[in-house]
């Protein structure tokens, strides 16, 4: 099975998953564009790890690619996570607070 | 010594207020940490702030919350 077939299969799966809403060409292609944009921009962003260490960058890019292909319809999940539920938002806010504080301590030791 | 008792009442009062199922009780119990903090401010050499906190923390906020509870519903509903 070629790489193209894998992607095509995944795209069909996305279209099946998005069936909760009335599915039109516009919504399907929007979901697809969002998916591709997300993966590509994350990949390009990961290239910046080269400033820390080039080998680490290669490993991380490979990891991101594998994860992205394994969990390919990321966008429906991401959209479900970023909803307007207060409990959900509050959870992410507190998690982000923890991450920021931890990152600043870690970053000051390591950068 | 008195300040340690105040600190303990502050934390315990906060926990107890949040443990009530009756919202009116919870609203009134909010005043306990409020007034303890006011006394703590007095101990921490801030008498003018203590006056404000005594009024706001022990009277205004509990009354506001209690009025809201009276306008809405008294008991906490079962979640989900």
């Amino acid at each position: 099975m070629s790489f193209y077939d894998i992607i095509l299969k995944r795209i069909r799966k996305i279209q099946e998953k998005a069936e909760e809403e009335p599915i039109t060409n516009v919504t399907a292609s929007a979901m697809l564009t969002a998916e591709l944009t997300l993966i590509i921009s994350v990949l390009v962003a990961v290239v910046m790890v080269r400033l820390i260490h080039p080998v680490l960058m290669i490993i991380m890019i490979a990891a991101v690619l594998v994860i992205a292909l394994m969990a390919m319809p990321i966008m429906p999940r991401l959209r479900r996570e970023q909803n307007d539920d207060l409990n959900n938002m509050m959870f992410y806010v507190v998690v982000a607070l923890g991450i920021i504080v931890a990152l600043f301590y870690w970053g000051n030791l390591n950068v | 010594m008195i300040e340690y008792i105040l600190m303990i009442t502050t934390v315990l009062g906060a926990i107890i207020a949040l443990m009530q199922r009756d919202l009116l009780k919870a609203a009134i119990l909010t005043g306990i940490p409020g007034i303890s903090i006011a006394f703590l401010f007095q101990f921490l050499l801030a008498p003018d702030v203590a006056l404000t906190q005594a009024i706001v923390g022990s009277a205004i906020l509990p009354v506001f919350i209690a009025l809201t509870v009276l306008k809405t519903r008294r008991t906490e509903e079962e979640s989900k």
């Binding site: 009335p22 516009v26 919504t27 929007a30 979901m31 564009t33 969002a34 944009t37 997300l38 590509i40 921009s41 994350v42 390009v44 962003a45 290239v47 910046m48 966008m75 991401l78 959209r79 970023q82 909803n83 307007d84 207060l86 938002m89 509050m90 992410y92 806010v93 507190v94 998690v95 982000a96 607070l97 920021i100 504080v101 990152l103 600043f104 301590y105 970053g107 000051n108 950068v111 | -």
Partner: protein
């Protein structure tokens, strides 16, 4: 002693006018006249004010007060006590002039469209708008970090008020969510501020930097890192970067179009103001810049990918506005003078363009009372001129020459490449293209595809004032696009001072 009272007027006038408008709730004509006069005066004041600083209550540093400084013992004149700022200080330079001017301009257009689109203009709504403008101007001008916190809270309350006043479905829920999250972020921001106060003994940013530079305080102590993290967290809430991007876009979509135009300007300028404070205070720490860039990249990716999959056009615009904030953040995070200039220029452009888009798409809401793109279509035939203006706004947002965002995005990409991070340039170009695609998708479904049968278009004419505002905003976009030096020259001094 260069105390300059006009600087205080920039904040005091909107507040005073707002309080008057609140009193005159039922008198429609008076409200209209007073609101429009204030809205005209607000952008004019910064143009007339000479650069300088204002000390509230006349509390200048001892070094500048000749009468008090005479005969003081060397115990005071020989130490840093002589230089410290005892009162609240507002600083007004060319960058602040431009930003307060643009904020005033957007306020003017928002008030102008609001007064003509609503039948019975409410004084309370105008009160909230002016209050928000005053507090964001104060955040831009103030050099006192606690003063910034106070106005941060006032701005949050004013934004909640603007949402509540909109009368759109589910607006109360969004307002409550916003203020509940704000009640977590606000105290934590205050905690960060007071940690700095406890360490340096001062709330004036200039003095804090002085204490850091002179080595009175160890700037790498863990306590200061905690305060940096907490202030960054408060900054995220005020500007709507992730994790607050969902609530911020919901806030934009639940406000009326002119309200949303103003709200996004508040977010943009709060982002710039607090971002500058963070850079001024903590730029010695290399991780600050990395964190700002990281947050901005996440904001861009999440904001723009979420914008694609939305179906409500106000929500699309909300997410796009959040995504565009990432560009400003990248400019600030690059840390070079050119990068910061580009980021500030992008902030000015984005505030203008996004209000342009919100007011432009607001005409659709005005004619159809719906914001769901699935139910819309064929608006091109209803009003082709407004459709053209909205299209131009979208082109401006995507960065098409000769419009203004082209210049700032070009500068940003150049700055990214100069700093040795061409990947950021690639991401910015890619996401600009996707932004344009998202905009065109919304534009196509609203304006170009055939009109659905069940869509009924109301018979009310689009007020001429809305069209005038749109044309004026377009003209500003073109002027800034053709002559970017107007903006960049005034922003450059601030950027150079930050490095």
């Amino acid at each position: 002693m260069d105390t300059n009272a006009l600087i205080a007027v920039m904040v005091a006038l909107p507040i005073a006018s707002a309080l008057f408008l609140n009193l005159l709730d039922k008198k429609d004509r008076t409200i209209k006249i007073l609101a429009i006069i204030t809205a005209i005066v607000i952008p004019i004041i910064p143009l007339l004010t000479p650069y300088g600083s204002h000390f509230f209550g006349g509390y200048v540093p001892l070094a500048q007060n000749a009468t008090l400084a005479q005969g003081l013992p060397s115990l005071i004149t020989g130490t840093q006590l002589f230089q410290f700022h005892p009162g609240i200080m507002y600083v007004f330079t060319s960058a602040q002039q431009l930003m307060v001017f643009v904020l005033g301009l957007i306020t003017f257009f928002a008030i102008f469209t609001f007064l003509n689109e609503t039948k019975r203009p409410s004084g309370v709504y105008a009160f909230l708008m002016f209050m928000g403008t005053a507090s964001v101007s104060a955040i831009l001008l103030s050099d006192d970090i606690f003063n910034i916190f106070v106005f941060f809270e006032i701005a949050a309350l004013a934004q909640v008020g603007i949402i509540v006043a909109s009368g759109i479905k589910n607006n109360y829920e969004t307002a409550l969510k916003y203020i509940l999250l704000g009640n977590i972020a606000g105290p934590l921001l205050l905690l960060g501020i007071v940690i700095l106060l406890g360490v340096t003994g001062n709330v004036n940013v200039t003095d804090m930097i002085f204490t850091f530079k002179q080595g009175y305080v160890d700037p790498n102590s863990p306590v200061i890192l905690m305060s940096l993290a907490l202030i960054t967290f408060g900054w995220l809430y005020a500007s709507g970067l992730p994790p607050f991007h969902t609530i911020k876009s919901a806030v934009y979509s639940k406000a009326l179009p002119h309200g949303a135009a103003l709200l996004q300007a508040f977010s943009v300028f709060t982002l710039v103001a607090i971002g500058i404070i963070i850079l001024r205070l903590f730029s010695y720490n290399p991780f600050t810049n990395i964190a700002i860039i990281g947050i901005s990249v996440i904001a861009m990716i999440l904001g723009i990918t979420m914008a694609i999959v939305q179906t409500d056009y106000k929500r699309i615009l909300g997410y796009l506005a959040v995504g565009e904030l990432g560009y400003i953040g990248i400019g600030l995070g690059l840390g070079t003078a050119f990068g910061i200039t580009a980021g500030l220029f992008q902030a000015v452009n984005e505030a203008i363009i996004t209000s342009f888009l919100f007011i432009g798409f607001g005409t659709v809401l005005y004619k159809t009372r719906t914001s769901n793109t699935r139910k819309l279509g064929g608006m091109m035939y209803v009003n082709p001129r407004v459709a053209l203006l909205v299209l131009l706004a979208g082109l401006a947002m995507a960065g098409v020459p000769p419009l203004n965002a082209f210049q700032s995005k070009l500068m940003l990409i150049q700055a990214a490449i100069q700093s040795g991070l061409p990947e950021l340039g690639i991401i910015m170009i890619l996401l600009s293209i996707v932004t344009f695609m998202t905009f065109m998708k919304a534009f196509y479904t609203i304006y170009m595809r055939p009109k659905p049968k069940e869509l009924e278009i109301l018979d009310n004419k689009i007020p001429r004032s809305t069209v005038i505002s749109l044309v004026a905003l377009l003209i500003i976009c073109i002027i800034l696009g053709l002559f970017p030096q107007i903006a960049t020259n005034s922003l450059q001094t601030l950027a150079v001072g930050l490095v």
